[in-house]
């Protein structure tokens, strides 16, 4: 049964959401590599052309699920919402560093179930999942790099970035394992975030204001 794309923004959003939900289910069941556009269309009762109206490729669906900018490469540097873009005139201070921690935690909480699915697929050797995970990792680095470059000399930059990212990953994965499906709720609590922020301050010592 073919349902034409409904008119109006709300109808469009609704169909788009239905496609993403169906894709999620199939990716979880069959893996990324083995799921076809056709199977996704069938799952949500759309014809192939109707689905193509929303997404041209399976990769587009994956990118939409992860809120990643398209095209996949090169990664477009984005700025976390409510944060001033990095610049040499405004070197990263404590407020910015804490904002970046919040940004990493927000993303992890929002994409908790997707991330777990992604990790399992990576362990299964799913090539799409491996590429996607690498893109996400580089995405974090590309957002953090300009801020870190505003305070650390080039010789120190790589190790400082990696310290920040690995610390955040270790903290997040540990909390994901411990809290299971409750992780997104737990991660929204400022009391949960405070220890990571303290550790980040210890790991990434910022020069005193006015010195750079």
């Amino acid at each position: 049964m073919t349902v034409p794309p409904p008119l109006g923004v709300r109808g469009k959003d609704e169909t788009r959401g239905r496609i993403l939900k169906a894709a999620m289910e199939l990716f979880g069941r069959d893996g990324f590599d083995c799921t076809t556009i056709r199977a996704i269309a069938e799952q949500c009762d759309l014809s192939d052309p109707a689905l193509y109206y929303y997404f041209k490729t399976k990769r587009d669906i994956l990118l939409a699920l992860w809120d990643l900018p398209s095209p996949l490469e090169p990664m477009r540097p984005t700025t976390p919402r409510n944060m001033r873009p990095a610049s040499p005139e405004f070197p990263m201070d404590d407020g910015v560093l804490m904002g970046l921690v919040d940004w990493m935690l927000d993303g992890s909480a929002r994409q908790d179930s997707l991330n777990r699915l992604l990790f399992r697929s990576v362990l299964d050797g799913d090539k799409t999942a491996i590429a996607l995970r690498e893109t996400k990792r580089r995405g974090w680095l590309s957002v953090l790099t300009p801020y870190f470059a505003s305070v650390f000399p080039p010789a120190e930059l790589a190790i400082r970035l990696e310290t920040a990212v690995m610390l955040a990953l270790g903290f997040v994965y540990t909390a994901q394992i411990e809290n299971g499906a409750d992780f997104p709720k737990v991660a929204a609590d400022p009391a949960f975030r405070a220890p990571l922020k303290q550790l980040m301050r210890l790991a990434i010592p910022l020069p005193p204001a006015g010195e750079h």
């Binding site: 050797g125 190790i159 610390l167 994965y173």
Partner: protein, 198 residues
């Protein structure tokens, strides 16, 4: 945690060990769902009933793999920063040597199964018990924060390496580039304390 009380005869069984080794490799590659008792029996060169003799269910066999923590060598108490860092690098690399168990346990952990959660807690506790004397001795008031920082950093690096390097995880971790980077990361979060001779 629940540990099966094993009769001495079972503990010593060479067949049981072989079944566990084959199961570990299969679960790591194929996941829990993709592994059958039949495959394990075939790999170990025994019959299906022989596997059931040692393990009543596939789940029991799987979870038996997660009972033992990955490391158990104690860190000789040291107040010397460089030798503590060297020991942590050895720990990290030692974990990586059990690549199959690492993949299998990460799969369980990221799904937050009871066995996976318990495995992480056991290993975390074992690791912390081994390194704590150094942190207390060297960093005093700052000890517990430094210990947390290093623990999360190493966990992040370890899990990231599993996801990034797939089948070549172990050889990557043993490689010079990775080892050098690991040393640099540890030095960046473990500053030299004044008043301590290096």
């Amino acid at each position: 945690m629940v540990r099966h009380a094993l009769a001495p005869s079972e503990l010593k069984s060479e067949t049981r060990d072989r079944i566990l080794a084959v199961a570990c490799a299969l679960f790591a590659r194929r996941g829990y769902q993709g592994t059958t008792i039949r495959l394990i029996a075939k790999g170990a060169g025994v019959t299906d009933p022989a596997v059931y003799y040692y393990f009543p269910t596939k789940r029991a066999l799987h979870d038996a793999l997660l009972v033992e923590p990955l490391i158990d060598t104690p860190l000789t108490s040291t107040s010397d920063l460089e030798s503590a860092i060297a020991t942590m690098v050895t720990f990290f690399t030692g974990y990586a040597a059990s690549a199959d168990l690492v993949r299998l346990s990460f799969r369980e952990q990221i799904s937050s199964t009871p066995a996976g959660v318990q495995f992480r807690r056991d290993n975390d506790a074992t690791y912390r018990k081994l390194v704590r004397p150094f942190f207390v001795n060297y960093y005093g008031d700052e000890a517990s924060q430094r210990e947390d920082l290093v623990t999360f950093l190493l966990c992040g690096l370890f899990w990231d390496a599993i996801l990034r390097y797939g089948d070549s995880f172990e050889s990557h971790v043993r490689g010079d580039g990775f080892q050098q980077n690991l040393l640099e990361l540890l030095r960046s979060v473990l500053p030299v304390r004044e008043g301590h001779n290096e």
